[in-house]
Amino acid sequence: MERDNSKQTGWLDTAVAGIRFGPDRKAVRAELQAHLEDKAADFRRIFPDIAPEEAEARAVEEMGDAVEIGKELARLHKPWLGYLWRASKWIAILSVVLLMAINILNNDHYQSAGYPLWGGFSEVRGRTEGEKIQLGGYTFQIVGAAYLDYVQDWRGIEDRVQVYIRVSTPRFWERINEGALRSALTMTGPEGWVWSMDSGKVQTIWEEGRNELICGLQRAEWGLFHDTYVAYGDLEWTEGEPVCLEFDFGKGSFTLTVDQLERVVME
């Protein structure tokens, strides 16, 4: 019995020797052992007088050449795929645990930037498709322009121009820095009106207890690959007069002009 068992064991060892990934080797060995046991059981059923040792020996013979089978099994069970599968499983589990831990500790369900991946603070008025300029991997385009006309200076709020600039980049992790845009941007209008977006001017609405930006730059909406900013200017505008946005970055300069503004009567 021991001799036949060692024959079976020897056959199994030879057949799985080429499988270098441990878990696969164990699984294949168990399956081959099950086949051997089934074959031996079949022999004992067909030949009831056969000795158990002989049944097992014949079962081993029936399975075939262990060396040839071993070569084929080694070809089918590549170790690197097994290790990769194991590693991917553990990395995925670890990543989930780490993210859960970070979320629990920081209570931050968004990017570390503190904002959702897309959203907006205000609607774009006077939608338009302006000229696109590319600089340093960013694309600049005017996407909206409006003149807010407060009827009869309603509640003392000043009329103002709003120009919406979209800055897009495929590098979602490097969306344009608001400070850099602010420092680089100047709005110019008719009769030599100029305002550098590096500073802001607000008007206090006393009845509502809030401040309204009348000159300056503010974020309007954003997505994964773009940010849209609104530049305000309290210039006196009439139909047909162009408003220009002059950009002066260390890397280069350009101007975007908007000729048509949508007059929005605010009441």
Binding site: A113, G114, A180
Partner: protein, 205 residues
Amino acid sequence: MKKRFLRPRLGRRGRTVRNLLVCLALSLWLWSAFSYPLPTRAMNFRRLEHYFLLPQGELVFREGELFVDLGEGQAVAGWVPTRSLPTRYGVYPCNLWTCPVGEGPSPVSLADDRVLFLNLPGEAERGELTIRSGQGQQTAWAQAEENGLCDFAFDNSMEANCAFPNSRWGVEGWPYVLRLYTGDGALLLEQEGEIPLFPHRQGQP
């Protein structure tokens, strides 16, 4: 009898690909959670130049968190203490400033008590820099380096010029006198000027 929809069972390869895709998505999420860190601060400095739309030149000075690169007519200096992009809460601070550079020796402020001069003539061996600030006059001496740089460090920090409230480093806005000497002690060049106010781009929302 209702037919049950059986999901196709993925093989070893399919499950590995699925797991790797999940790992990729989670890694991207983790990377964004830490504000997209890069392997080194030098790489982050380069990225910040791109991020602030500043020109990229040749890196001529690097000391710890301080970087200076020199391009055509302009130098970009930066203080980059982290490997991540600045977030809206300023958790990952940084500061980059641009400095116009002429043909001759040109100053770049590095701190409240430190000035780097670029484009020194090749014969210069030693330099002497005197700055007259609001706190009085200070003089520093330094050896000129082979790449035409001279790094002057003062004993006391200078305070910003009150006439220019936007200056970031205390040395900016003050008048200076630069004297360069050759190896045998002869005066090679004397230059007077004012340390310019450099526009700073800081990691702010």
